[in-house]
């Protein structure tokens, strides 16, 4: 029997072993703790003048009928203010895609549950309450009765089931961000839905506080889309042909897909509706049926319209310093910090440093399966990886590239994690070129060519090829080159558009890329454990380990694999040990002794093995906000996985009256 406490606040930092229930109480507390509302008698909510006029004209039902019986209450930090309605925010995007400032067509309402930034506790948001079973094999969401899509149609359990059965699990439909462990989606009644797994999955509930819980346009209106889906309309193919498509899935994807959104009629549950879109701009208008209020009972969002202009990425910065952009965070670049600052007064804006959960900028991953036997032998030798790490002058990188605001560190979990150990961050992270040279000498790399570079067995300089796919990495890579060449390793930097594919095929040299997706406070732990699993840094070992596990559990037989052989390559014992610890980390309850032990073992091993070599981390994101804009984001929420999560509280932005 599942435990159901109401008003329960599960404090993760206090290591409560089971995250079980999330009830509506926490949100009500928010409301009562805030300033007394102007007029909240009989649940009468306030609305924007723009909507009030439409209600008076009979175009819209009254606000109380448009909102859930118990609307969600937005999180307001101590310095957030109750806003005033109206106005238009101007933003600039650098591509047609929705992952842009106040973009996301415009997906900034938040997820089905959230983590409270003050207490770290999970609490309901789009759902009224949520509970996970004791065996961590099912999670039930109790939806807010009366929640509506932007066309006024009720949002119900059908929409949640539709999301899995007809979108995520349908091969012909492109979606992202589902939870693969979920195997069944069950409608209990109109306002209750249950997701079930085959195996215990302790992050099942917490994971819903991240994009799979409703971000990235995960939720779609069943009532609107069903006529294009073959499972709900046997004539969907005919309808598709009528609309000029070949098959139902083409038509469905056209109406459903959102990157970029083609069908502007598709209702949303987010605070603004995309009303106009061209290839040079987008315009959004407030959603009259939005389901969230501020602590004073005002329906959100405050701002009426958002207009976005699509510009070149260089023009983006020009627009910022000209003071034309109201809200810029996703396209800002740290190397433009001084540029933004210089024009702060003239542009009438402020530059805000938002500390970000960046494990490391331009983290190096030497390919453990390099085709050249000598290079492979070197990359597999921990002494070589340590030499690379010791050769790096992280302080210099921090000063030159990050203006000294980052933290020189090895590639490990960020220090805000409650189970973090200081020694991980400092492991092999000192600048010690002599020790690096000594390690390289010890490896037999003593012969040098006429330029002073260490040579391989072929007499040529032993070349380190740093591959990157993002121009932003180059300043750091240039410094690595200098540092590595100082200890006699000739280094080259190469741009590879297909780096990710090469890395996954084990055909790259040294992969470089920023690892920024580990959370500050480790909510959706099991999902993010992947970055520390061999499946990420050494694909062939990962394949072997997964296949072997499947064989041991009986889930697969040898016949399931190509040629009847175990795919990948058998890893060394230390990697098996590491991956077992990753598995235990992901499958034990958060904060339990097994959890802590496994978690710490993972990072103990990584700190010594350096499969990933870090440089400088915890570098801030820059937010540039016009002075007239209030309630802008200043910190990552506990559940945040990437800068886009800074937008999930954009519904409380407002424009200050002069």
């Amino acid at each position: 029997m599942p435990k159901t406490f109401s008003l329960l606040c599960v404090c993760v930092l206090l290591s409560v072993p089971a995250l079980t229930v999330v009830a509506a109480g926490a949100a009500d507390e928010d409301a009562s703790a805030a300033e007394p509302a102007a007029d909240m008698s009989m649940g009468a909510y306030n609305e924007a003048p723009m909507l009030a006029a439409m209600v008076a004209d009979g175009e819209l039902p009254p606000v109380d009928e448009r909102m859930p019986l118990e609307p969600a209450v937005a999180y307001f930090a101590a310095d957030d203010e109750i806003g005033t309605y109206g106005g238009t925010l101007t933003v600039f995007h650098t591509s047609i895609n929705p992952w842009a400032d106040l973009g996301y067509e415009t997906e900034i309402g938040g997820y089905v549950i959230r983590a409270n930034p003050d207490t770290n506790a999970l609490e309901p948001l789009l759902a009224r309450a949520a509970e996970m079973s004791d065996d961590a094999m099912s999670v039930t969401f109790y939806l807010r009765e009366g929640t509506k899509w932007s066309d006024g149609h009720p949002m119900t359990a059908d929409d949640y089931v539709f999301m899995y059965e007809d979108a995520h699990w349908n091969d012909k439909v492109t979606t992202w961000n589902w939870i693969p462990q979920i195997k069944r989606a069950i409608k209990v009644d109109d306002y209750t839905v249950r997701f079930e797994t085959d195996e215990p999955y302790h992050a099942l509930l917490a994971k819903h506080a991240s994009p799979p819980g409703g971000g990235w346009q995960v939720f779609h209106p069943f009532h609107y889309l069903k006529k294009w889906h073959i499972s709900h309309n046997p004539d969907a193919d005919a309808l598709a042909k009528e609309e000029g498509f070949d098959t139902w899935d083409e038509a469905f994807n056209h109406h459903f897909f959102w990157a970029p959104q083609q069908d502007l009629e598709q209702p949303t549950h987010h605070p603004w509706i995309l009303t106009e879109r061209t290839n040079t701009g987008k315009r959004f208008e407030r959603n009259p049926y939005y389901w969230k209020v501020d602590p004073a009972g005002n329906q959100l969002p405050y701002v009426d319209h958002i207009q976005a202009q699509i510009v070149d990425s260089e023009t983006y910065h020009l627009k910022i310093i000209a003071g034309e952009s109201d809200f810029a965070v996703l396209g800002t670049r740290f190397d433009n910090f001084t540029l933004y600052k210089e024009n702060e007064a003239a542009g009438d804006y402020r530059v805000v440093q938002i500390p970000a959960p960046v494990v490391g900028a331009s983290v190096l991953i030497p390919n453990q399966f390099h085709e050249d036997p000598f290079t492979r032998e070197m990359y597999r030798d921990v002494r070589f990886r340590r030499a690379l790490s010791l050769a790096m002058n992280r302080d210099e990188i921090n000063e030159l590239v990050f203006f000294g605001v980052g933290v020189p560190r090895s590639a490990t979990i960020v220090s805000t994690n409650p189970y973090f150990k200081q020694e991980w961050e400092q492991a092999w992270a000192q600048h010690d070129p002599d020790a690096a040279s000594a390690l390289l000498d010890e490896l037999g790399l003593t012969a040098r060519d006429e330029d002073g570079f260490r040579t391989g067995p072929d007499g040529e300089a032993f070349l380190q090829i740093l591959e990157h796919s993002n121009e932003a990495d180059v300043p750091v890579l240039e410094l690595y080159k200098e540092h590595f060449e100082a200890v006699g390793l000739k280094t080259e930097i190469r741009l590879r558009g297909d780096l990710w594919q090469r890395h996954n095929a084990g055909t790259d040299n040294i992969y470089t890329g920023t690892i920024s997706s580990a959370e500050f406070r480790e909510y959706t732990d099991a999902a993010k454990a992947t970055e520390y699993d061999s499946g990420f840094y050494a694909v062939n070992w990962g394949l072997w380990i997964r296949a072997t596990r499947d064989l041991e559990s009986g889930a697969k037989t040898l016949d399931d694999f190509a040629d009847g052989k175990i795919p990948g390559e058998e890893p060394p014992d230390i990697v098996k040990e590491l991956d077992d610890a990753v598995l235990a980390w992901g499958s034990s309850a958060y904060g339990s002794p097994e959890y802590i032990e496994a978690f710490q073992k993972v990072f103990d091993i990584h700190a010594e093995q350096l499969f990933l070599i870090g440089s400088v981390g915890v570098t801030p994101n820059l937010g540039v906000f016009k002075n007239r804009v209030a309630n802008y984001p200043t910190f990552y929420k506990p559940e945040a996985t990437w800068p886009g999560d800074l937008l999930t509280s954009a519904d409380k932005l407002f424009i200050k009256q002069p």
């Binding site: 238009t88 101007t90 600039f92 591509s95 047609i96 895609n97 992952w99 091969d171 492109t174 992202w176 961000n177 994009p211 990235w216 994807n253 056209h254 897909f257 990157a259 970029p260 083609q262 106009e276 061209t278 290839n279 040079t280 701009g281 315009r283 207009q307 976005a308 202009q309 510009v311 070149d312 260089e314 023009t315 020009l318 627009k319 000209a322 034309e324 796919s469 993002n470 590879r496 558009g497 297909d498 780096l499 990710w500 594919q501 996954n504 890329g513 920024s516 997706s517 999902a527 992947t530 996985t641 990437w642 800068p643 886009g644 999560d645």
Partner: protein
């Protein structure tokens, strides 16, 4: 004459088929494809993309097919006037180009008119008043104009306009007019944004054209028939405009056709710096993002226009220059 045109058009078709293949190969040449770019974007946006999803996407975009099959599919559609669909925009290529065409052509034509209106008179004046102060001034301007990279000029002008006039820079419209219907305010807004692109794109063209005009006219002015005309007492203005100028304009006429693709694509680099919503940046983005069909179709379109342009140039020369006309009639 007609058979000549038909012959030329036939050659053009063969050339276009070859070109389509070469351009498709070139677009395919860089490692990786559109999906790699998409995956990189998604990863930067914090999404885990697994192998199965990549395979689904490859299938959806038809990227799993062998090269020749993809080429033939694309080329077959092209013959039917279907330029394919852009991966990045999820829209037919024709629509994408169409949206940008009007503004591109407007800017290009305005620049062209401006260029000619400035360059031809100055070129004539320079030639007829060789080594005068004004000639030197025009020459100096011409060399500076030729030597300054357009994008640099664009950046400097943008800075000046932003710093001293406080106008919105970049793009052709201020954000608030992006979706507003056409009205006086929007037109004024557009006019405020137009001078920089016109000046920047126009400068290099003007400078070059002045030199060409001056040199060609100088050559003619020294010829005997001009002396004869003058000796016979022909009025100076009439002498200039009736004979040498008509010949001196040949190099310009012969290059008019080449401008056709340039009118459609606009100045890519400048447009990029200025943030102009024209076709040039679209092509650049398509190539960077390996948006195959968009890039391929645009290259094809521009190549076809270049060939058309050359044909038009040749035909115009025939019309303008009687010597060519008579030579051809004599051989025919």
């Amino acid at each position: 004459m007609l058979s000549y045109i038909v012959q030329r058009i036939l050659y053009m078709m063969v050339l276009l088929v070859l070109l389509s293949f070469v351009s498709f190969v070139l677009i395919e040449l860089p490692p990786g494809d559109f999906l790699d770019n998409l995956i990189q974007q998604l990863r930067n946006a914090g999404v885990q993309v697994d192998v199965e999803q990549i395979r689904d996407l490859e299938e959806r975009y038809g990227l799993n097919l062998p090269f020749m099959q993809r080429y033939l599919k694309w080329f077959g559609n092209l013959l039917r006037g279907d330029m394919g669909e852009s991966f990045a925009y999820n829209q037919p290529v024709t629509e994408l180009i169409g949206q940008r065409l009007l503004l591109t052509v407007t800017i290009s034509l305005l620049t062209l008119v401006l260029t000619y209106a400035i360059a031809i008179p100055i070129g004539i004046y320079s030639a007829t008043h060789q080594y005068s102060f004004t000639d030197y001034a025009a020459t100096a301007f011409g060399f500076i104009g030729l030597a300054t990279p357009n994008f640099l000029l664009a950046l400097i002008l943008m800075y000046i306009v932003f710093k001293y006039f406080g106008w919105s820079v970049g793009g052709l419209f201020s954000p608030e007019f992006e979706f507003s219907p056409w009205n006086l305010a929007k037109l004024v807004d557009l006019l405020k944004h137009l001078p920089i692109p016109l000046i920047v794109v126009g400068t290099a063209g003007t400078a070059g054209l002045i030199r060409v005009m001056r040199a060609a006219l100088l050559d003619e002015l020294r010829k005997q028939y001009v002396l004869t005309g003058r000796a016979k007492g022909l009025e100076e203005g009439r002498l200039l405009f009736k004979y040498p100028l008509r010949i001196a304009i040949n190099p310009i006429v012969s290059s008019v056709g080449w401008l056709l693709p340039a009118i459609i694509s606009g100045e890519t680099l400048t447009a990029l710096v200025l943030g102009l919503p024209t076709v040039g940046p679209l092509l650049l983005q398509a190539q960077q993002g390996q948006d195959m069909y968009l890039a391929g179709s645009l290259v094809m379109l521009l190549s076809a226009l270049a060939m058309m342009g050359m044909l038009i140039s040749d035909l115009m020369l025939v019309l303008v220059d009687p010597r060519i006309r008579f030579a051809r009639e004599a051989t025919a």
